[in-house]
Symmetry: D3
Subunit: 254 residues, 6 copies
């Protein structure tokens, strides 16, 4: 059996941006339905999404089975949460609210086995999912994503980016906006916000790190991909469901 | 506290057709999201939907809280399943595969308390949901819907419609189609199928019974409403989710 | 290890009536709390109670661990439901709505292994709970309770009582009342209802069968025990919870 | 749709103390039963209560639907736990073991959006529950309650009370007692304990902050309300259930 | 995408017997662990196994993902249970206690779409699992297994085997034994039992139907395969777990 | 009712080493099966095991009911996780990755009530499980186990061992190995690793603290017991299940 790989890295090596689905609702079937869209990766959101770890376990399986890269946004920069997601088989962990180099280093350490980090050994489910080669390959195929989403994080951007082992930067536009005095929301068009996004993208790209961003619409995501973003989250399950359900009843009534 | 009512009957009395949402996926949050669309009723499908009774219990609560009429399609014409849905607070029960007058009578008996039927008493959750007036009102506000969806059922249509206490007829176009040699699918356009649908509608309407039908699109549902259908199911949660997720990734990639 | 016994039979042999707790709410902890009251048996109600089989499995364990006899009221006279409860470790099964000798015979057959009945073999959990002697003892320690709760059942009382292997009769006063034109409710005082209860009690007792009844209050239960009832259900978890919670807030406000 | 409000503040503005129910047992139905008592608020206890976040999600819905203010006691002063409860729709968060001004400030920051705090944006469920006005109103309707329950906390009471944005003080009598060398327990009568409670109440009230306390009995709660406490927890679900179940079987046996 | 197939039929076509794993314990992870052994098919037992349908849904996914044929033993010959298992993605359904040709016909009808049977259309999860070709292929790839496990069934063996559409016969040695006056248990060696097993095998094989049997040990299973059995269940998860756990502690202590 | 005790301490007082089972898979039934092996204690692993706290609650009950000492490995040195396990009834808590005396002190403080520690009072489930004497006995019967499993921990071994109230040292051979440049794995035979294990054992034993270790095989465990280890974990449920399932299918095929 070949050593496991992280397909996102193959996609990027081929020069393509990756389309990432976002799961905010608990549910094995929800994951099974969404992943059929043909996404490159699917992220189970344990921070603002309503799934809990007990459901994350169930939801990662069909993502993996469908050939998409299973990822998890953990609720916080917490060793238990990070290692849990990895043990369950996630190949990417998105960590919210990284604001300093120290926080980035602590996060990355929790993602990687010694000597690169401090991850504790015991990947029962990851071994079942990725095969016996998982243990040796883990440090190469796990991608730790630090979210940059506050003014403090931007001030410490260089320190964050200097963290050895960091796998990528993920931009949270809503928190980044409210941290700078704007209303929350995605697909920002304000020049100041676009400039901040561009700064993060350019600085990280210069360090060789892929950058991802949460988008509401395919158009905005495509624009961001054209600027060089490598991981584009487009909408989420709750939004798809609500939009479809609302449109159906409204179209019926008019 | 006023006696509980079934709002579908108020809607029909006002001359309006009712828009019914269809829940095929397990999940409390799914129900909470879908019901926000403003549906008149929401049906948890325990037959071909993937929710089980333990989740039905959770999903009926937000439907009720949002002011929509909670309904359940039971997996089969089975007293335990029918009484369970009612005890959990459903005001409508859709029963698949009713093919004879005897089956219709057995189904209706399970929906109504004596002397009209044989429903066993013990509406713990329904009492919590609908208040202390539930027990006295139950036989008036519970609507038993018999599905007519086979050629045998059509042959016995008069006997089915003659069942005292029957609340309505619900048409399942996929099963009705395969029972007549067509492929499965909703929104039938074949003249033979339209004629069958029209027969059911006209016959039931003549008896004063509302008729409902499972539709894929708002256009078809509106057309059916214009013909006189009173309960129009439009799409379902799995379809909304899959369509939205697929459209997003495809729009991004093109 | 001694062969397992059904402690209810020991209690009756000692001339004592048994106090049976009734669980209507799902929840492992609910069961753990209630059983501490010192009940002789505890019944998980899968008919009008809101627990499902997946929770029944969890709830039977602490009942057994606390030394009470675990029992289940199944939702209907259905082989799958009856055998499920027994496989999960219940020593008593209460079956609702037994109305004829044939129905009683079918129910009892589902409770007993051949040659006495048709129960299918595979008591994985019952073996874990009751030990390796379970298989040989099962037919002796499992008590099938037929509910007599309709006028039709009363008309067929002799046939029901003649069923070989029947373990007891359980009276459901609410259904028995609505079947005879009264409002539902427990602790009946109407002479006609008391006469019916007395008839069941006397007839079954004459056949050597214990009789049980659902009661709302300890006083009524004690009166019934004095008349010769052997299994007295007193209140239920939902009632205890609601009464306590309502009394607390009302006492605070006055 | 009007902006959402926290009804507790309306109750206090009307000069009334609020009656708060306490849920220690997991269970959607438990919550549905208890809230019928007519409580002003209901708190799901994730610290010593046995519910987990996956059940908190289910339990908050019926509390909200019944018109009571949904609150959560988080297991610890942890950003993930606090933000989770708020995203799920809680309008009050009770945080145990706040012992210093710094801890209070960290807790409050996790409850409030920038610029007042550091809460991360993404209230999917809170939006569904409270409507589109939730985001703008959140900082005004969310009440962060710091528990004062150790001698160290009392020594730092002024610093804790000086925390901008703090919504109230909640007294945990058991921990406060064992921290001062007494046995655990509620409804303390020792002069030293009453004096400590009075000190907290007076100091916080002087700052304009409401004070709450965990009580075992309605009498004690009413006495505390008369002293000026604004949030009175009276008993809990486990206690109501155990008391009712024990009383029933004992009354039957005597 | 190629039309889905039932790999068991390919294995049999290649002249190989199939090794079938048996899951008696609820648990997604249990299924993920067991299927790694390299089984040809894995059966989730909903009759005597302790999993419920809500867990069956989760357990079928990893079986499918690992390339084994997902099968379900339903609790009884019940249309709802049979169609549920199929909608959830099972390609084989084992039905207990088939005793007559009529029962076999009813069972098979529930497995097949019209015109061959009466299965109701709506394979949401099966479509997700097996792809868009599922609907057309379903009647060809679904294998209905009738259990022959009583003396009555043996008396009606010819009628059962004459059922059009029946996919195979599955022997339950424990029930077959107790039905004939023996103790329950697998791997029977009594000449009378071996003769009965041989009769079923020979008669069904003559009709072109594969025969399966529940075995305790690999040796017995291999012997049965050599006699011509095509589906060999070998042990079960509960047995593997109990044997391993007991052996470990005993080896340590001696 | 006698005061509760921790049977492990009785076993050690009798000069016997204790056999500890390890549960990595979620599942009430798994726990019920494994505990039948006759283990002295059973540990639910919430760190690398895949059970979550909601399942821990269910799994501790049958461990207790079977007379084994229920223990939990928490995911991290976190007050919420530690107190949760104890409130749920665990008598032992194994905490991973203790590396300093400060960390050990924080961990122990979370296990013990004041004045010895800072555990918050509210043992609802522990009281149900261990009886009314639990509160007074808790500080005596709860055993906090610090895992020593890194080079940093070994450097701080004396400080860790000097922690008042610490109950034992538990060795994690995999993490200890990778921390020292070896591959992960149990049952280490390298002289350097054996020396480290011996150092921990000797130093802790000299302080009067029992030492435990995770083992793969009974032989290794027995050897470690002969060296003086007092808590021997032997294999785990996932391993027993996988070994049994794989052996069965392989034995059948050869």
């Amino acid at each position: 059996m070949a050593a496991p790989v992280n397909r996102l890295r193959e996609i990027w090596a081929a020069g393509r941006p990756a389309a990432n689905a976002w799961l905010s609702l608990p549910g094995l079937l929800n994951a099974e339905v969404v992943v059929k869209g043909g996404w490159d990766s699917v992220t189970v959101d344990l921070q603002h999404g309503m799934a809990e770890p007990v459901e994350m376990l169930r939801m990662l399986a069909p993502i993996h089975a469908a050939g998409a890269v299973p990822m998890v946004r953990v609720p916080w920069n917490d060793p238990a949460a990070v290692m849990r997601a990895l043990d369950a088989g996630a190949l990417g962990v998105i960590c919210p609210m990284i604001e300093t180099g120290e926080e980035a280093a602590a996060f990355v350490a929790n993602c990687l086995y010694p000597p690169k980090g401090k991850r504790s050994w015991g990947p029962l489910r990851a071994n079942l999912m990725w095969g016996p080669g998982y243990s040796d390959a883990a440090n190469d195929i796990v991608v730790p994503w630090a979210m940059v989403e506050t003014s403090k994080a931007m001030a410490n951007l260089d320190a964050i980016l200097a963290t050895p082992g960091l796998g990528g930067i993920y931009i949270g536009p809503s928190d980044l906006s409210i941290s700078h005095g704007f209303k929350p929301g995605l697909d920002r068009q304000e020049p100041e916000m676009l400039e901040r996004i561009e700064t993060i993208l350019a600085t990280a790209t210069a360090k060789g790190l892929p950058v991802g961003i949460q988008c509401a619409t395919p158009d905005y995501a495509r624009g961001m991909a054209e600027r060089g973003m490598r991981l584009l989250t487009i909408g989420n399950d709750a939004g798809f469901l609500q939009a479809g359900a609302t449109a159906a009843v409204q179209a019926f009534r008019t």
